[in-house]
Symmetry: D2
Subunit: 225 residues, 4 copies
Amino acid sequence: MINVLVWCEHEQDRLQDDVKAAYPEYMHNAIANFLKEDPNLNVRTATLQDDPETCGITDEVLADTDVILWWGHIKHNAVPDAVAEKVQKFVLNGGGFIPLHSAHFCKPFIRLMGTTCGLRVDGFGKHVINCVRPGHPITKGVPEEFSLPVEERFIEFYDVPQPDELIYVTGYETGRLFRSGCAYFRGRGKVFYFQPGHETNPTYRDKNVQTVIRNAVYWAAPNKD
Amino acid sequence: MINVLVWCEHEQDRLQDDVKAAYPEYMHNAIANFLKEDPNLNVRTATLQDDPETCGITDEVLADTDVILWWGHIKHNAVPDAVAEKVQKFVLNGGGFIPLHSAHFCKPFIRLMGTTCGLRVDGFGKHVINCVRPGHPITKGVPEEFSLPVEERFIEFYDVPQPDELIYVTGYETGRLFRSGCAYFRGRGKVFYFQPGHETNPTYRDKNVQTVIRNAVYWAAPNKD
Amino acid sequence: MINVLVWCEHEQDRLQDDVKAAYPEYMHNAIANFLKEDPNLNVRTATLQDDPETCGITDEVLADTDVILWWGHIKHNAVPDAVAEKVQKFVLNGGGFIPLHSAHFCKPFIRLMGTTCGLRVDGFGKHVINCVRPGHPITKGVPEEFSLPVEERFIEFYDVPQPDELIYVTGYETGRLFRSGCAYFRGRGKVFYFQPGHETNPTYRDKNVQTVIRNAVYWAAPNKD
Amino acid sequence: MINVLVWCEHEQDRLQDDVKAAYPEYMHNAIANFLKEDPNLNVRTATLQDDPETCGITDEVLADTDVILWWGHIKHNAVPDAVAEKVQKFVLNGGGFIPLHSAHFCKPFIRLMGTTCGLRVDGFGKHVINCVRPGHPITKGVPEEFSLPVEERFIEFYDVPQPDELIYVTGYETGRLFRSGCAYFRGRGKVFYFQPGHETNPTYRDKNVQTVIRNAVYWAAPNKD
């Protein structure tokens, strides 16, 4: 059994009609729900709204967590530094961390990478997600090429360290592209950044996206000796 | 269930008294036996003695194999190029390959690495096996430092590509050392080289060595979609 | 002074009108000529036509060579295995090797990589060459994004080991893409594969392509102690 | 011409007799002096004593700096966060950074790595420095194995990201070891951590250590287009 915590800032999906239209059940639930279909995953959620100080990531919760998924966008700065540091230590001590989409700018990821984690945004359009490391456990059951009709385009230079394992690169009709599936070992833990998931696109309902994320949870889970 | 094939040249353990003393049940059986204790592993053996042309690695056997372990030393050249090529393709198509000790010079490994795979031998002595990537699945249940009382010392420069994942480095009382646990993705498959296992030392009876090898089998097993 | 050997099979540029139109001076000369503009490079050429046995790569030539550039396409098999092995050893002993475009299938590169080096060809079109490792010496003086109007599209999965340094990824209007600038350390030498350069496109006249290749020569040159 | 800034905390070499005995000219000068022998390097020094707020690393100085070397030990916390952030940005924007010995715990390195950068100290003894990537420019002119009679032993697990280029591993008579020469690309810049250099050992007078550090300055220097 892997204990999973899905964390979202839960801001735009409360306040913006277009986001509520895409995810009426809220984003954290959208992500948690497809993970809950797997009986080996014990899935909980927490959000920035739970408590401004802890963001719902209490020591008690963390002690029972193996892997954290993180979605944030416009409220990165509302996460206290102490929480970001706690998540960073959670990873370095062996935990798994899976920042999604605009969480490239969340505080724990920036701390873990040591770089700006900056990128360029280049509008919206079709995403073609190209696997460059087939056979990796994160790719299990996913076609080596799949696409999303409309998503927000992030483009290079993506200022992160060269991934320990570069798994996906997403291309666009512009010829520009983005390293969209990046796996890192950090301390005794693991990090997998995965790019798809803009708040107004129903990306987390895509079966391939769901499979990649579910696989990443298994990959990122700590050794239990 | 993972289908495992333990391949050994089965030469010295037939003909040399000191090797027979260390492994009276033969080396392939010594390795197979501790893997067989795991009910999720379906373990078979094959040796150079089975058939000079196929070395026991027939198309039929290969079709039912997920991971190959390989031990060879003085009969590398007796393995036909066609067999080496077959094993190389098996890996590139998704299979797992775990060359052990002096199998750094086996034909399939040299083909897969693209380098000489040369190293220097520096006598025998205590091995201290230092983990440099704790948290990796291959290290599960193994202390971050463990030792073997006497083993053959391989030392750098080990002419292999920089590992995708360097997991163990073994040090000696001489201050010299060897990258002893090296993981590679090649094609759609995976390779893990592990250094311990000289034919006159009872290394494959060591619990930590057994655990590393067992973990490596799980790590190297292909995705089954 | 770096001693550079530009090797081409020199087949299509002798026999095909469309290739002669693109490179009337022949491809090896086209590549050698822009390198010769750099006074620190001592540039020679050799081709398959020089001699079927040595391909012009004699021991004497090799002894005075620091970096080999290699362009081949339809005559890979005409290169004797002994020549391929000689080039492989040249690299492992410290030499630089820069296979260009369809030389992904040349014998020395396949030997050095240990994989099939296969890829998929997907017609022709605009190439957008995206830098994913700015600051690397191979990128010096080159915009972080540049394009070629028409080139042959290679697409993933490109069956090479994960590069030690992934520098360029080329994207197309199809959303597909290709890891087009891949740097490897092998043995004591260095390898840089660079994708642009189809025989009917005037790609080697592009200033950015020339700069990348020239930079790669400097990067791949051996330490001279 | 490469503009080099040698930064030291300049604390123990002012106050401790044993350190003054090893480096009567002070540590920053000891390091600067051997670099100054190279006419292509323009070498300056700065220390924590210059100014508590800037530590001598003013915007003006930084604007004329290509590579920073950093030695610190007991006064890491005296470096203001603003200075650490400035150095981090200097690297991400293309600068070179070479932390030495106990500077594994300096603020800029910890920020750039994203990990604790922790290690274990295991007394003093002979260091055997083993090259695992011969041919790399940082190794130019240095034997593939060299030793120091007495130095402080750092041992694994060294909690840094897997290096982009692991160049040296140091072994001890205990069989324990340490990844002592670790190269990283971060942002548009480069980082090389090198372990030798305890304040009471005359390590910076060793010719091989000097050569490695000088090579690292060249390697880490930014592209000047």
